[in-house]
Amino acid sequence: MSVNVDELVDRERGLVSRRILWDEDVYQLELDHIFTRCWLFLVHQSQISKPGQYFTTWMGDEPVIVTRGQDNRIYAMINSCRHRGNRVCRADAGQTGSFMCAYHGWTYGLDGSLIGVPGDEDRYQGDLDRSQWGLVRVPRVESYKGLVFGNFDPTAPSLEEYLGQTRWALDYILDQRDGGTEAVGGVYKWLINSNWKLGADNIMGDNYHGAVTHRSASMVGHMTMARGEGNGRRRPQPALPLEGKLPPRPGFTAPLAWGHGFMTDLQRSREADFADYPEPLRGYYRDTQPELESRLGPVAAQVKKINLTVFPNLCFNTSSNTMRVWHPRGPHKTEVWLWIVVDKDAPAEVKRRMRQVGQRHFSPAGLFEQDDMDNWELSTRAAGGRISRNYPLHYAMGLGHEDWATDGVVTRQINAIKDESNQRAYYSGWADFVSGASWDELRRRREAWEGAPALAGATR
């Protein structure tokens, strides 16, 4: 392997090499240094709410089973029998007391311990120490407000420390109401021929592409359509102008360390900004406003929308209630998994409307989602060109012109939403991890970027 990470991400000039979308040796470094060290999202707690329930997923290239044990604790382990390596669970989800390997019958409990070996006494004659041959456990499993994460690195910081200042955004997503959130039944899963990072960098910071990529959806009044109103426009209307000075867009951008980042639209008035929502959604947002404000503070109460990426591959878009993971399947292929997350205590009709908003915007048939995929597939494919691979991608919008806030909700905050600072933060964090920096070194770099370790919600 001969990968010089410094040549891949040029932080001073905001340039990113196309090799990171294509090269197998770069991808192997990602598996080595990102997917075995970072906290990776596993499951929403509501998906395994009862003892014995399980959900199978991926951590990088490792298939993983997540279970709720009879002791009500959540376990995660690699889905591979210790005898010959076969998968011990072949379903996406379900309920069970144990997992029996279909090859020779080694059987494991919900916590991964080896509890059954056919013909043990006769064949192994007492030589097999079952305590040493359980499924490989994911050593760290921790939760944040309903979201369960796993980490293969025993020396990694706690999940809370890892999430750092993204928690301000996560609290807005997960903690507006007393009952927390739940995942609507069913996970969307689909394969795209794109590198896994393009979607992650898009969601957290690309406020530029909407006017072009999603132009058709805007022209036909997708918002009213997605919200189930009968006044969608049959005859297309002009979309946003592409040229000229941008209309003022209240909000801020938070390009954080370790590859995290989010952007937040703030509203002039909650009443006005949710006026185009149909009932019962409009009423729901109005009625839950005091609860939100008392729980999360005045700035959170002004939020219209948050786009968040938790490094490396977990993304949120609040206006569609969606959460997704970009599972890498090699450098050129990604399996996208998408959830719709709603307030647990919301009335059924509100949940139904929220689901429709989510799936009509962002799911494989979603009016927004449809048009992103070709872009990323064709960007990925071009990265393999012998000539074009030598021409870096331009991520320098707004570099050096940042209007840094001094009194924001996070310590690294720009008073605008119109540049590519979040994408630069993503690839800067990516380079830090891929270079193999120690956690101590990563902590030093974070402090240099974000200032003294600050907790989210500083202005509460």
Binding site: A91, G186, K189, W190, S216, A217, M225, R235, R355, S363
Partner: protein
């Protein structure tokens, strides 16, 4: 067994509908639907035997499509803007129907028509997708002609191998 004349009438209707889709005559296609129609495609997941009940998402859970006629109209209008990049240049599709079964519907003027389908799509130079599954259509006779009141699509695959669903199945 359905009366041969009825069967032939229904088959003609389904083939015409498929032709309109493959010929991209989407406005004409939409005219074949009732005003109160519903177009729904749940998500399938892999489950063990005995757990079949949870294999497909329920009506109140996530689905690929949960459209009324207004939403279907928006999808067509979106394509017509010519800025709908997933369909620009357009997908080329071929709807293949087989194993057609005709069953009584909920009312005297309704039938439930079940069939197997393959929709093949190719796009740009070499992109290829196919969607395979079972379709359950509720057809309603209105003013002497058949209209589609409901379409349920049950894909066989649990992970879509297509980058998007930008065409009607």
């Amino acid at each position: 067994m359905a009366d041969p004349q009825l069967r032939s009438e229904i088959e003609e209707f389904l083939y015409l509908e498929a032709e309109l889709l493959d010929d991209r005559r989407l406005d004409d296609w939409l005219d074949l639907w009732t005003e109160d129609c519903h177009y729904w495609m749940p998500i399938r997941s892999t489950r063990v035997r005995g757990d079949e009940e949870d294999e497909l998402t329920k009506e109140w859970e996530n689905s690929y499509f949960d459209d009324d006629k207004q939403v279907m109209r928006q999808r067509i209008a979106k394509v017509e803007t010519r800025f709908s990049w997933s369909e620009e240049p357009p997908s080329r599709t071929r709807h293949l129907l087989s194993n057609i079964r005709i069953r009584p519907g909920g009312g005297p003027d309704e039938l439930v028509v079940v069939c197997n389908f393959i929709v093949y799509r190719t796009r740009l130079s070499t992109d290829e997708d196919k969607w395979v599954g079972e379709r359950q259509d509720t057809l309603r006779r209105t003013d002497g002609s058949w209209k589609i009141a409901e379409r349920k699509l049950f894909l066989d695959e649990a992970v879509l191998k297509s980058k998007n669903l930008s065409v009607f199945l």
